[in-house]
């Protein structure tokens, strides 16, 4: 057991996952990740570089990936906004890279030291154009560790950027933890012959200097990497392929916890730090005779609509508490398509929800849908 800070856990997990390149720019509340990596990388033979801004940080990380590294950068809202264009470059070039965003109050400079979940949609859709990304989140120090390793694993497997969303509280809080031994997925080496396609379906990532003169471009290209004629059709084929592989493996990609869902009339659907209060809220509600349950997601994107549908089948209403003014509630509503009321509960004042506040909101929702009676919308 050791007392570890959330940001420290991310850095330690990255090293465990084989991360050997870190580039970043200081920003609250993510800075400790960078400070840890500045110590860890030279010790483990990896590379640490403090770039001139967040645009340079993500660009250097993607460049390092093509140099053969497992690369990561970490930031917070303002830096995450700056990174968006180049996150799209990683999507278009199918480059594995991990981006940690410790969310703080926004927009703009916002509340630099206080928690928020304002980048849930930005993490999925922040860069222009159609693309796939994997977005994970965590509610505890040990979960931050686990999800960091999984971010590397998934990014390697699907050749997409993996984004880990933390928040100011999780980044800075300390917990007594024993780190689990999370398996690390090693990079596969492709066979290079005249038929090798660096961007072919399921092709392993092949860095520069490995014998194939790969062309990497953010322009639409075909499986050879070259921006040839009919590149629009080619890139649609490639992007649909990424989407299909992630849909195929949705159950392996989706991490979640559940509590008391079997007979739950009211389902609290949470992610990140809010899960902590929600677990206690479920106990409070049960003690008051309300059948409440919790679905707590660690994988936010690709959106696990199948899971949300499965786990709320018996529900009469779903409450979606978020540290924003209503973001993730949108895909939840779409997934349930009017089957039961989906109630947002949002705040962006830099405070966390208390268990009591969640229980009160759940009670109000329960009475509005006349638990025991007929559900309406």
């Amino acid at each position: 057991m050791r007392l570890v800070q959330g940001n420290e856990a991310v850095a330690l997990a990255a090293v465990h996952a084989g991360c050997n390149f870190y580039s970043g720019y200081p920003i609250t509340p993510a800075t400790e990740i960078m400070e840890m990596m500045a110590r860890q990388m030279p010790k483990t033979g990896g590379v640490f570089v403090q770039m001139e801004d967040e645009i340079g940080s993500i660009a250097a990380a993607i460049g390092a990936a093509w140099g053969g590294a497992k690369a990561m950068t970490a930031t917070s809202g303002p830096g995450f906004s700056l990174m968006q264009e180049n996150i799209g470059y990683a999507c278009m070039t199918q480059t594995p890279v991990v981006v940690v965003d410790s969310q703080r109050g926004g927009p703009s400079t916002g509340l630099p030291t206080l928690p928020a979940q304002g980048e849930v949609m930005q993490a999925r859709y922040g860069t222009h154009g159609d693309h796939e990304v994997i977005v994970l989140t965590a509610a505890s120090v040990v979960e931050a560790y686990r999800m960091t390793v999984e971010a590397f694993n998934l990014s390697e497997t699907y050749r997409v950027p993996a984004i880990l969303l933390l928040d100011a509280v999780l980044s800075h809080m300390r917990e007594n933890v024993e780190f689990p031994d999370v398996p690390v997925r090693e990079r596969l080496k492709p066979v290079i012959d005249e038929n090798f396609l660096p961007f072919g379906a399921d092709a392993p990532f092949l860095p520069f200097g490995s014998g194939h003169h790969t062309v990497v471009t953010g322009m639409s290209h075909d499986e050879t990497g070259l921006p040839k004629a009919l590149a629009g059709q080619a890139v649609q084929r490639i992007l649909k392929g990424v989407q299909a592989r992630m849909e195929r493996d949705a159950r392996e990609i989706t991490f979640y916890h559940e509590l008391a869902l079997d007979d739950a009339d009211i389902v609290l659907l949470t992610y990140g730090i809010t899960a902590r209060a929600a677990r206690e809220a479920v106990q409070l509600l049960r003690a008051d005779g309300i059948k409440a349950g919790l679905l707590d997601l660690q994988t936010l994107w690709p959106f696990p609509d199948w899971l949300v549908q499965e786990k709320t089948r018996q529900a009469k209403a779903v409450l979606v508490p978020e540290l924003n003014l209503g973001q993730y509630v949108m895909p939840v509503r779409a997934a349930l398509a009017g089957r039961c009321p989906v109630q947002p509960l949002g705040r962006c004042d830099g405070e966390l929800f208390t268990p009591e506040a969640l229980a009160d909101a759940a009670k109000a929702l329960a009475s509005s849908v006349e638990i025991g009676g007929v559900a309406h919308d």
Partner: protein, 281 residues
């Protein structure tokens, strides 16, 4: 340097020919200069990476039979920094436009120079944004015409060489597409140099810059390049050059070639001190 009959095809990606560049564009001359430099150095192209940005010059990586990266606008040097640090065995060449290097990516240029990382930046300076159709660049001369300065530019141009020198680049040269004998030698010197190198090549854009500024066709523009530049040696010792002297007579040649601790070496030293063993590559 290259004589007629010299075969550069092993250095050029045949499947991407012809280039996107307009007839008369100087960028093909620069690409030939880079290929000639690579040939003269006898480099293994599997260990060469060409990392470009966006714009006419940004297409250059496609035309070399090497590891090629066509990145985002202005960010090529940041990508190249990550690439070089994890794989120092790669020779990293960064073709950049004047927009890439002096406008949107100016920050990365000065920091790459400050770090003195062993990367060669070749700045294709045609004084205008060509890919988007002839808008003013930070390198467009005062009073020059473009689609966004139709009455003449009221902004002074950046002096790329002065900026690179001030930021700490350890190899700094300027040449033109007219000076084709010297250009590949300066680029080869930059690639050989262990540190951050900047070679600015003044290039002609007859399609936009030439037409909007009534400079004639490509051959006329090559002569214009000849007439607006003057060999550095002809100025006497560097400190005696005044800004007034440079007007209409832009100095060309090798401005700096000096040794200073290189960034990847410095980092390896740090790893050794931290006991990290062999640096990842």
């Amino acid at each position: 340097m290259t004589k007629p009959g010299v075969d550069l095809t092993p250095y050029l990606r045949q499947e991407m020919m012809p280039t996107v560049w307009c007839p008369g564009c100087g960028h093909g001359i620069i690409a030939r200069g880079i290929a000639t430099a690579l040939m003269s150095l006898g480099l293994d192209m599997d260990q060469v990476a060409v990392v470009g940005g966006i714009g006419c010059s940004g297409r250059a990586p496609f035309y070399f039979e090497a590891n090629a990266m066509h990145t985002t606008h202005g960010r090529a040097l940041a990508y190249a920094t990550g690439l070089k640090m994890v794989n120092p065995g790669l020779t990293v060449i960064v073709p950049m436009g004047d927009g890439d290097s002096m406008a949107i990516g100016g920050n990365h240029l000065i920091h790459a120079a400050r770090r003195n990382i062993d990367i060669t930046a070749v700045i294709f300076n045609n004084s205008i944004y060509g890919m988007t159709g002839g808008q003013a660049a930070p390198t467009s001369p005062l009073d020059s015409r473009s689609t966004t300065s139709p009455m003449g530019s009221i902004e002074p141009a950046f002096d790329t060489v002065e900026l690179a020198l001030a930021a700490g680049a350890t190899y700094v040269a300027r040449t033109t597409t007219f000076d084709f004998q010297e250009m590949p030698q300066l680029i080869a010197g930059a690639i050989r140099h262990h540190g951050f190198s900047v070679v600015e090549v003044l290039s002609q854009c007859p399609t936009y810059y030439g037409r909007l500024n009534k400079l004639g066709e490509a051959p006329d523009m090559l002569l214009y390049e000849r007439d607006r530049t003057k060999l550095l040696e002809a100025f006497g010792p560097l400190p005696e050059i005044t800004r007034e002297e440079m007007v209409g007579k832009l100095p060309i040649g090798l401005f700096r070639d000096e040794e200073r601790p290189e960034y990847v070496d410095q980092y390896h030293g740090l790893v050794a001190r931290a006991g990290g063993g062999k640096h990842a590559s």
